[in-house]
Symmetry: C2
DNA sequence: TTTCGTCAAGAGCACTGCTCTCGGTTTTGA
DNA sequence: TCAAAACCGAGAGCAGTGCTCTTGACGAAA
């Protein structure tokens, strides 16, 4: 373990600064960020950026990866800082954390969950961080079943579907009855829809009390799952 | 009512052809469609397009309006062609119609429900057509209550939220108890999330039986709403 | 028939992502 | 220690973009 050379350190600093400037541009200009513009902001020439990122898409990928990690951190931290036995409280905390992060970083959220950039294909590095929020959510269900706080209803899925969802459980590394996992996925799907609707402004020019609406909607899904209050 | 002049007719034809070519480009290149490319495809020069659409955003707006109407037509037709008393069947039919349209026109769906184009602000003409799918869905609930097939649970929303949702009911012109409308909105939100996840490919490289998964997920929301089978 | 509105074409501007070359600096290894 | 290799920023240049403006031709209306 040798200390990184001076050159490597300034290089890492440059990469961080480029990403920071790019994030700033992202917030104002949306997904079509201009390499030349960030280069200008850094007092550089556009071609110099290519020393650090081989293409614009690679810069976007780096930003996407960072954003996934930040969102995953926020959701996991919110869940972790809630009483383990309070399943419903954990659910609400995780959902609120995702929403708060999205409201604080709308452009980055759009990058993660908006329509995919046309030519751009997300590399495989992104799938693991992308799964952290849903894994956290279904992890609450897993803990609930393990602790006996969440009784599996005994409901069974019809067959082509049951094994599909069972495979999904294996992929997410959660040991859950398929029917319950399906309900958890419904909650995750609705959470994404809620945030997207609020952020992309398609819904509710009315609905001024958005916090209350959000909590109620996520509470409905907690009901559907059967999460008990503390 | 005079017959439109020849000139007006060829002009209308040109507008239609431009939109058709643009839709084709949209399908392959995504949201960043090039005016010059569609002009090339039509054997024209880019500046000629501006005789018909004052800017690229106006072309996009026209495509968006058409897409909203097409999606609205599909959802409403599916609902209308189902036995009025079969609330659950109508719900499933409307949801399936939305999904089918989205799968058949992924680029246009992304235009409607993906991340908003940065500089672009949707004009007010779009809000009415955009509301047709959710209005159709909550219309099923309204019919159910009116026909006595869907019993309001008597559940009441806490106050800041209750009047918000009541206002939303007035805006959507559906006479529904707020608590029930909130559940309907949850269903609409989840439907959007389901389609987006499937279309934008973030979810389930596994889950090969997507039709069954979709039906089960929308069925869960029908359960949450309390829609009875036929 | 003449005038007026419409049309396609072309040149041009400012911008984009990206490539390549050219000097200058830093790190590396013999 | 010193030359070779790697790295870095600047600049020119290419192909493409949205958009504006001007020019000349055509058809419909007065």
């Amino acid at each position: 373990m040798v200390a990184p050379s001076l050159r490597a350190r300034v290089r890492a600093g440059m990469i961080d600064e480029i990403k920071a400037v790019a994030r700033r541009h992202l917030a104002t200009d949306g997904a079509n960020l201009s390499l030349r513009a960030v280069a200008r902001d850094m007092g550089m020439v556009s071609s110099a950026i290519y020393r650090y990122f081989p293409s614009r898409d690679d810069l976007l990928t780096a930003l996407i990866l960072d954003a996934y990690e930040a969102l995953g951190d926020a959701v996991e931290a919110a869940d972790a800082s809630t009483d383990r036995a309070d399943l419903r409280g954990r659910w609400h905390a995780a959902c609120r954390a995702a929403r708060s992060w999205a409201l604080a970083h709308p452009a980055e959220y759009a990058l993660l969950y908006g329509s995919p950039v046309p030519g751009y294909a997300a590399p495989d590095d992104t799938v693991a961080p992308a799964q952290r929020p849903p894994v956290t959510l279904v992890g609450i269900l897993r803990d609930g079943v393990a602790a006996g706080l969440l009784a599996p209803s005994g409901e069974e899925l019809p067959e082509p579907l049951r094994s599909d969802v069972a495979e999904l459980a294996a992929l997410l590394a959660v040991d859950l009855p398929p029917a319950l996992l399906a309900r958890g996925m419904a909650g995750w799907t609705q959470l994404f829809g809620l945030i997207s609707f609020e952020l992309f402004g398609r819904i509710n020019r009315t609905l001024p009390h958005r916090d209350e609406y959000f909590d109620h909607q996520t509470g409905l899904m907690a009901d559907l799952i059967g999460l008990p209050a503390a």
